[in-house]
Symmetry: C3
Subunit: 468 residues, 3 copies
């Protein structure tokens, strides 16, 4: 019995389901455009095999291990590395069995859909993962990973990826990206400019990072003007590797547009480590507007991902470090927060600012009205905790009526789980087709238009919005 229902995520009533299926038929095999994600460029550069099933599916995926953790499984037992280098489980098979024993926890979650999608379409399983089938799963996946067809580049082709963006620190030398370029491989893997370490005064070693930015670029980053020029230089460097976007993940959507001399003073204070929390926040906000201005110069798309309260658990941060499933969203305001940036550059149609949210209450109230008015602003897709069937449905239902389809930008998989990429795009395509079919069947969209929009949402808008 297959793991996947061929009609999954389509509407339940027959007429809408038939139409959704027809719409999906025209987009199911389109190439994948992945403009924002966290896969490791090293994979594509070295094309080495993945280590083992646990290292592929469990240990690095915070969607997976946080759910097991929530039901009392210790992160150590899932092989999650400890900050102090202390012992954690290293036996992939043991980790896998623990995962399999708790697989029922994922019922009703997108992780379940993504995992089953990979199990069936990549590895050919047709029985569910359970404690009883755990070893068979482990053996077959482990064996497959040792074959050429399961190496990163082969999977890139198999997944029909047309282009994929990684996310890279401003100080990164893009060595793996260089290696990819020099290898002659035809895959298109591009970096994204993520300057947290050099725009956030509260980032570990901010001053040291900014000094390093100066060394790399030959600019005097002790001055505001030199610091901005250094950003320009790094952006140009990233662009030379195909980069088309920058990415900014602050806790809030705050932007500022202070006078340049005031910004210079604040920057000096930040370098001296003397910013208050409020001043650090203002500086980050100022840098969003500076980045937007640079985008008008160099054409990079500006992505703003606010709203996550990172590292909510002190004990987990101390023991396991960052990105361990304990980033919790909070309320996020956009209306006042984005105003300085939008007043500065928001009416310029040459600019593309893509904004995301983890706070759905802002969809209909704030984000759709803003994106439905400002030429520079577009809506990022349902993100992170909302990268799911219900999350995507709510996104469309709460934004389309005010912002339309054409102020949205297609799908982002935003993932470091390589094997989930086709599954995630498939979910997005299905949910969008279901939504379109529902609109047609309820007289809100003509059928010929639905086919056009389906193609736009699955493929064209991502390329256009990200200039890929």
């Amino acid at each position: 019995m297959p793991l996947l229902d061929p009609d999954r995520l389509f509407p339940n009533d027959a007429a809408a389901r038939d139409l959704a299926r027809a719409l999906y038929g025209t987009v199911a095999d389109l190439p994948i455009v992945s403009p924002h994600g966290h896969t490791d460029p090293r994979w594509y550069a070295t094309d080495e095999p993945f280590a083992d099933p646990a290292q592929l599916f469990v240990t690095p995926d915070h969607y997976v291990f946080r759910m097991l953790c929530s039901q009392g499984v210790a992160l150590e037992d899932l092989g999650v590395p400890r900050v102090d280098g202390g012992p954690t489980e290293t036996d992939g098979r043991k980790i896998w069995r623990l995962f399999a024993r708790h697989y029922h926890l994922f019922r009703g979650t997108p992780s379940r859909l993504w995992l089953d999608h990979a199990f069936e379409t990549v590895f050919g399983f047709d029985t569910r993962l359970t404690e009883a089938t755990a070893d068979d799963y482990y053996d077959r996946i482990a064996a497959a990973l040792q074959t050429p067809a399961f190496r990163p580049r082969a999977l890139y082709d198999r997944f029909k990826i047309e282009v994929i963006s990684t996310t890279d620190g401003a100080l990164d030398d893009l060595g793996w990206h260089r290696m990819i370029r020099d290898s002659g491989w035809q895959g298109r893997v591009v970096p994204a400019y993520r300057p947290d370490a050099v725009v956030d005064p509260e980032f570990d070693g901010f001053a040291r990072n900014v000094a390093r930015l100066g060394e790399i670029t030959g600019e005097d980053t002790a001055t505001w003007a030199g610091y901005l020029n250094a950003h320009r230089a790094r952006r140009a460097f990233f662009k030379s590797f195909g980069c088309t976007s920058s990415d900014h993940g602050h806790a809030t959507a705050r932007t500022e547009d202070m006078a340049q001399d005031q910004a210079a003073l604040l920057f000096a204070k930040a370098l001296r480590g003397q910013c208050s929390a409020e001043e650090a926040d203002a500086f980050r906000g100022q840098m969003l507007t500076e980045m937007a201005r640079m985008s008008l110069e160099d054409g990079l798309v500006l992505q703003i991902h606010p709203g996550s309260r990172r590292n909510h658990s002190g004990p987990v941060l101390a023991r396991f470090g960052r990105d361990k499933g304990f980033d919790i969203p909070g309320r996020t305001d956009y209306v006042a927060a984005l105003r300085p940036l939008l007043n500065a550059v928001g009416m310029d149609p040459r600019l593309s600012v893509i904004v995301f949210t983890l706070d759905e209450s802002s969809y209909a109230r704030e984000l759709a009205p803003l994106a439905g008015a400002y030429p520079a602003l577009k809506l990022g897709p349902a993100w992170w905790f909302h990268d799911s069937a219900e999350g995507m449905r709510r996104f469309r239902e709460m934004t389309t009526e005010t912002a339309g389809f054409y102020n949205s930008v297609g799908f982002n998989d935003d993932t470091r789980a390589y094997l989930s990429i086709p599954a995630r795009h498939d979910v997005a395509r299905r949910v969008d087709c279901a939504y379109l079919a529902t609109l047609v069947r309820s007289g809100r969209l003509a059928e010929d238009e639905a086919f056009e929009v389906a193609h736009d949402l699955a493929y064209r808008l991502a390329k256009q919005a990200y200039r890929l």
Copy 2:
């Protein structure tokens, strides 16, 4: 091929759809009661033809031009007048072609439904508006507008409007309303009392406006008592033209119930232009409670429309002025904000306070519990950005279980787009019938009750709540 699906907005499953159709059949042709809107009383007074298709559908409608603006169309090119009187497009046909070329932007939006409804039912089109059909549309609409059947009063009859309220400043002489009354025409066009200019200390020329209020009424509006009496006089004047409601569109729902001597001091400060932002806000809040007390005297219904952060874009405000699609909703609290007013008069069943929201997160959490308890409080319908199929559905789903149907007040079209009025009421009737059919089919309402409620929502409740 018709532009409109006769079953639009009904549920997709057959049994619920059949019932929705039957319910709709009993309310589709009911007269329109439009208790809150922004049509121009001059139209009904002079009954002059509308200028041209662009002036009718594009240039004055912020729903339409903001969407085009969001995709890079300059407001000047749509004929939106500039504050400085500088040149903007005046050729209606050019504007219309630009609009037609971007008509796909409205896919999935209520604007599309409203426009297609007018195109089909008012002008008889059966092919979609596109770049190719733009000129044909323009020619046919332009020609029709010159005929008697398309003049405002003829359309009033054709639309089966029973009564329509305009919105009028407190200082307005209601000259057009007088002209309507004196004309002998049978249409019922009533004013609503909107006193922003004389209750908001931050309104342009507040002190001058209050002085003018004194001149008009013969009251000494330099004193708090005289000022309140002047309001009473104007309300009585408005009532003499059929007015049954006042309307208040503050940024927040704040109310106050300070002692009268304290209010008098604050009023004096406001007249001297010395109120802080906080004091201005408090004064506006006090005036809501004063208006509620006057409502107990004269029976006017009190409408509170909070939540819009007006004129979000500084550049757009500077270049094009107010009401240009850049009013963005923000979070709105009702629980603490309405408490002073409700503690003062909220238990009095003779009072009718109708409250609206642009913040859907307040529906189930705040507004339904408040309206489901206080005799004086009723819920206004899904409003502005929520005047849409999904918006109305969410309104019913999130308010009915706590507040029931009978603490809601029917539909408001709230529009200045005259031709959209039948379309908007039609959408509301269809969505309500769809909701009722779903309740019946899922055993939450008996079928005979659904027919009664459908009539109440489409017609009776608006008349009752607004005392029309």
Copy 3:
């Protein structure tokens, strides 16, 4: 004609409806586990008949009388007692007729479903309650209440209650519970530890209450250590009557984890009545963490019910007292608020903290991410204003994708309306089965899994989460 549709609350499309019906068939007759509620232990202790239909269905039920109040019916006329002992209606039949005349107000509300459920399944009615049938209803219910089959213990058996928790103050001597235990009756009625009166510095007579706590327990509650020990003693006393949980209904979800000497100082200040509002709030927050630590010692489940702004109407509070339908929810933050408690004990899988919300905007944004990560945290079901078909559907749709099913805890009826208990559990079972059927039909869950989850949600999870 029956009052109830046998397929009520199931999906409208045929295939999903069939599956929902099948799922429901396996859980419809499961015993009721009611881990949180407000029925009166006296009922079970004395097993006296209920007074009359009005006293059973109208006068004590704030869901019912607030709706009538919202439409202008005076609470006095419904027999709601006045604080000053002044006259209110005492004629049950008059109250009942008034209720019947307004029964249409409940259309579309869960109260209507609960009431009709009791009317049909408990009393055998098959015609709707209206003004015309009011007397027949009254007579038949009144007659039935005088028969043994309608006494509390007989209804307990008839409702298939397996265990029910009441809610009891920390100072309560549990005399009724003792009487139940000593009676030899087989029903299982357990108390829950609700210490508001002795943990909230703003509670009427806080210092006196704490002193009384000392007397009861023999601890020196003038000291912090003695005070904590007194709580331990009372918890142990409650446990001896079967108690498995404590319950905490603060206005916010604030927790604190201050140093013990600092807590002791704050406690001393509280006893002296010198806490500021902020300090009182901090003390309540500290006590949640202290209670969590005690839970680690004694195994009681900790319930946090924040978000209600109690007694919103000053006039109603003054005239009728607390709990009169004027408790209005407000925005509630969990992310920052729960952090101190979670940092202290949240990673301990032996602890069970169940958190509820009246602010649905926190479901997907805050609560599901928190419960989907912390081992100690579980999600309480849709609560109070959300104890309804739509409320439960939204709960599942907004929490399952991130937290799964197994971080939720089954259903709470949370009611003092005894006859609504089977109806409320029935609604929850139906809505969950409908949700599961929809997941299966859209390929998000396998059918065999749905049957297992249906049983978990209807029965097993409540027992497990509450350790019953």
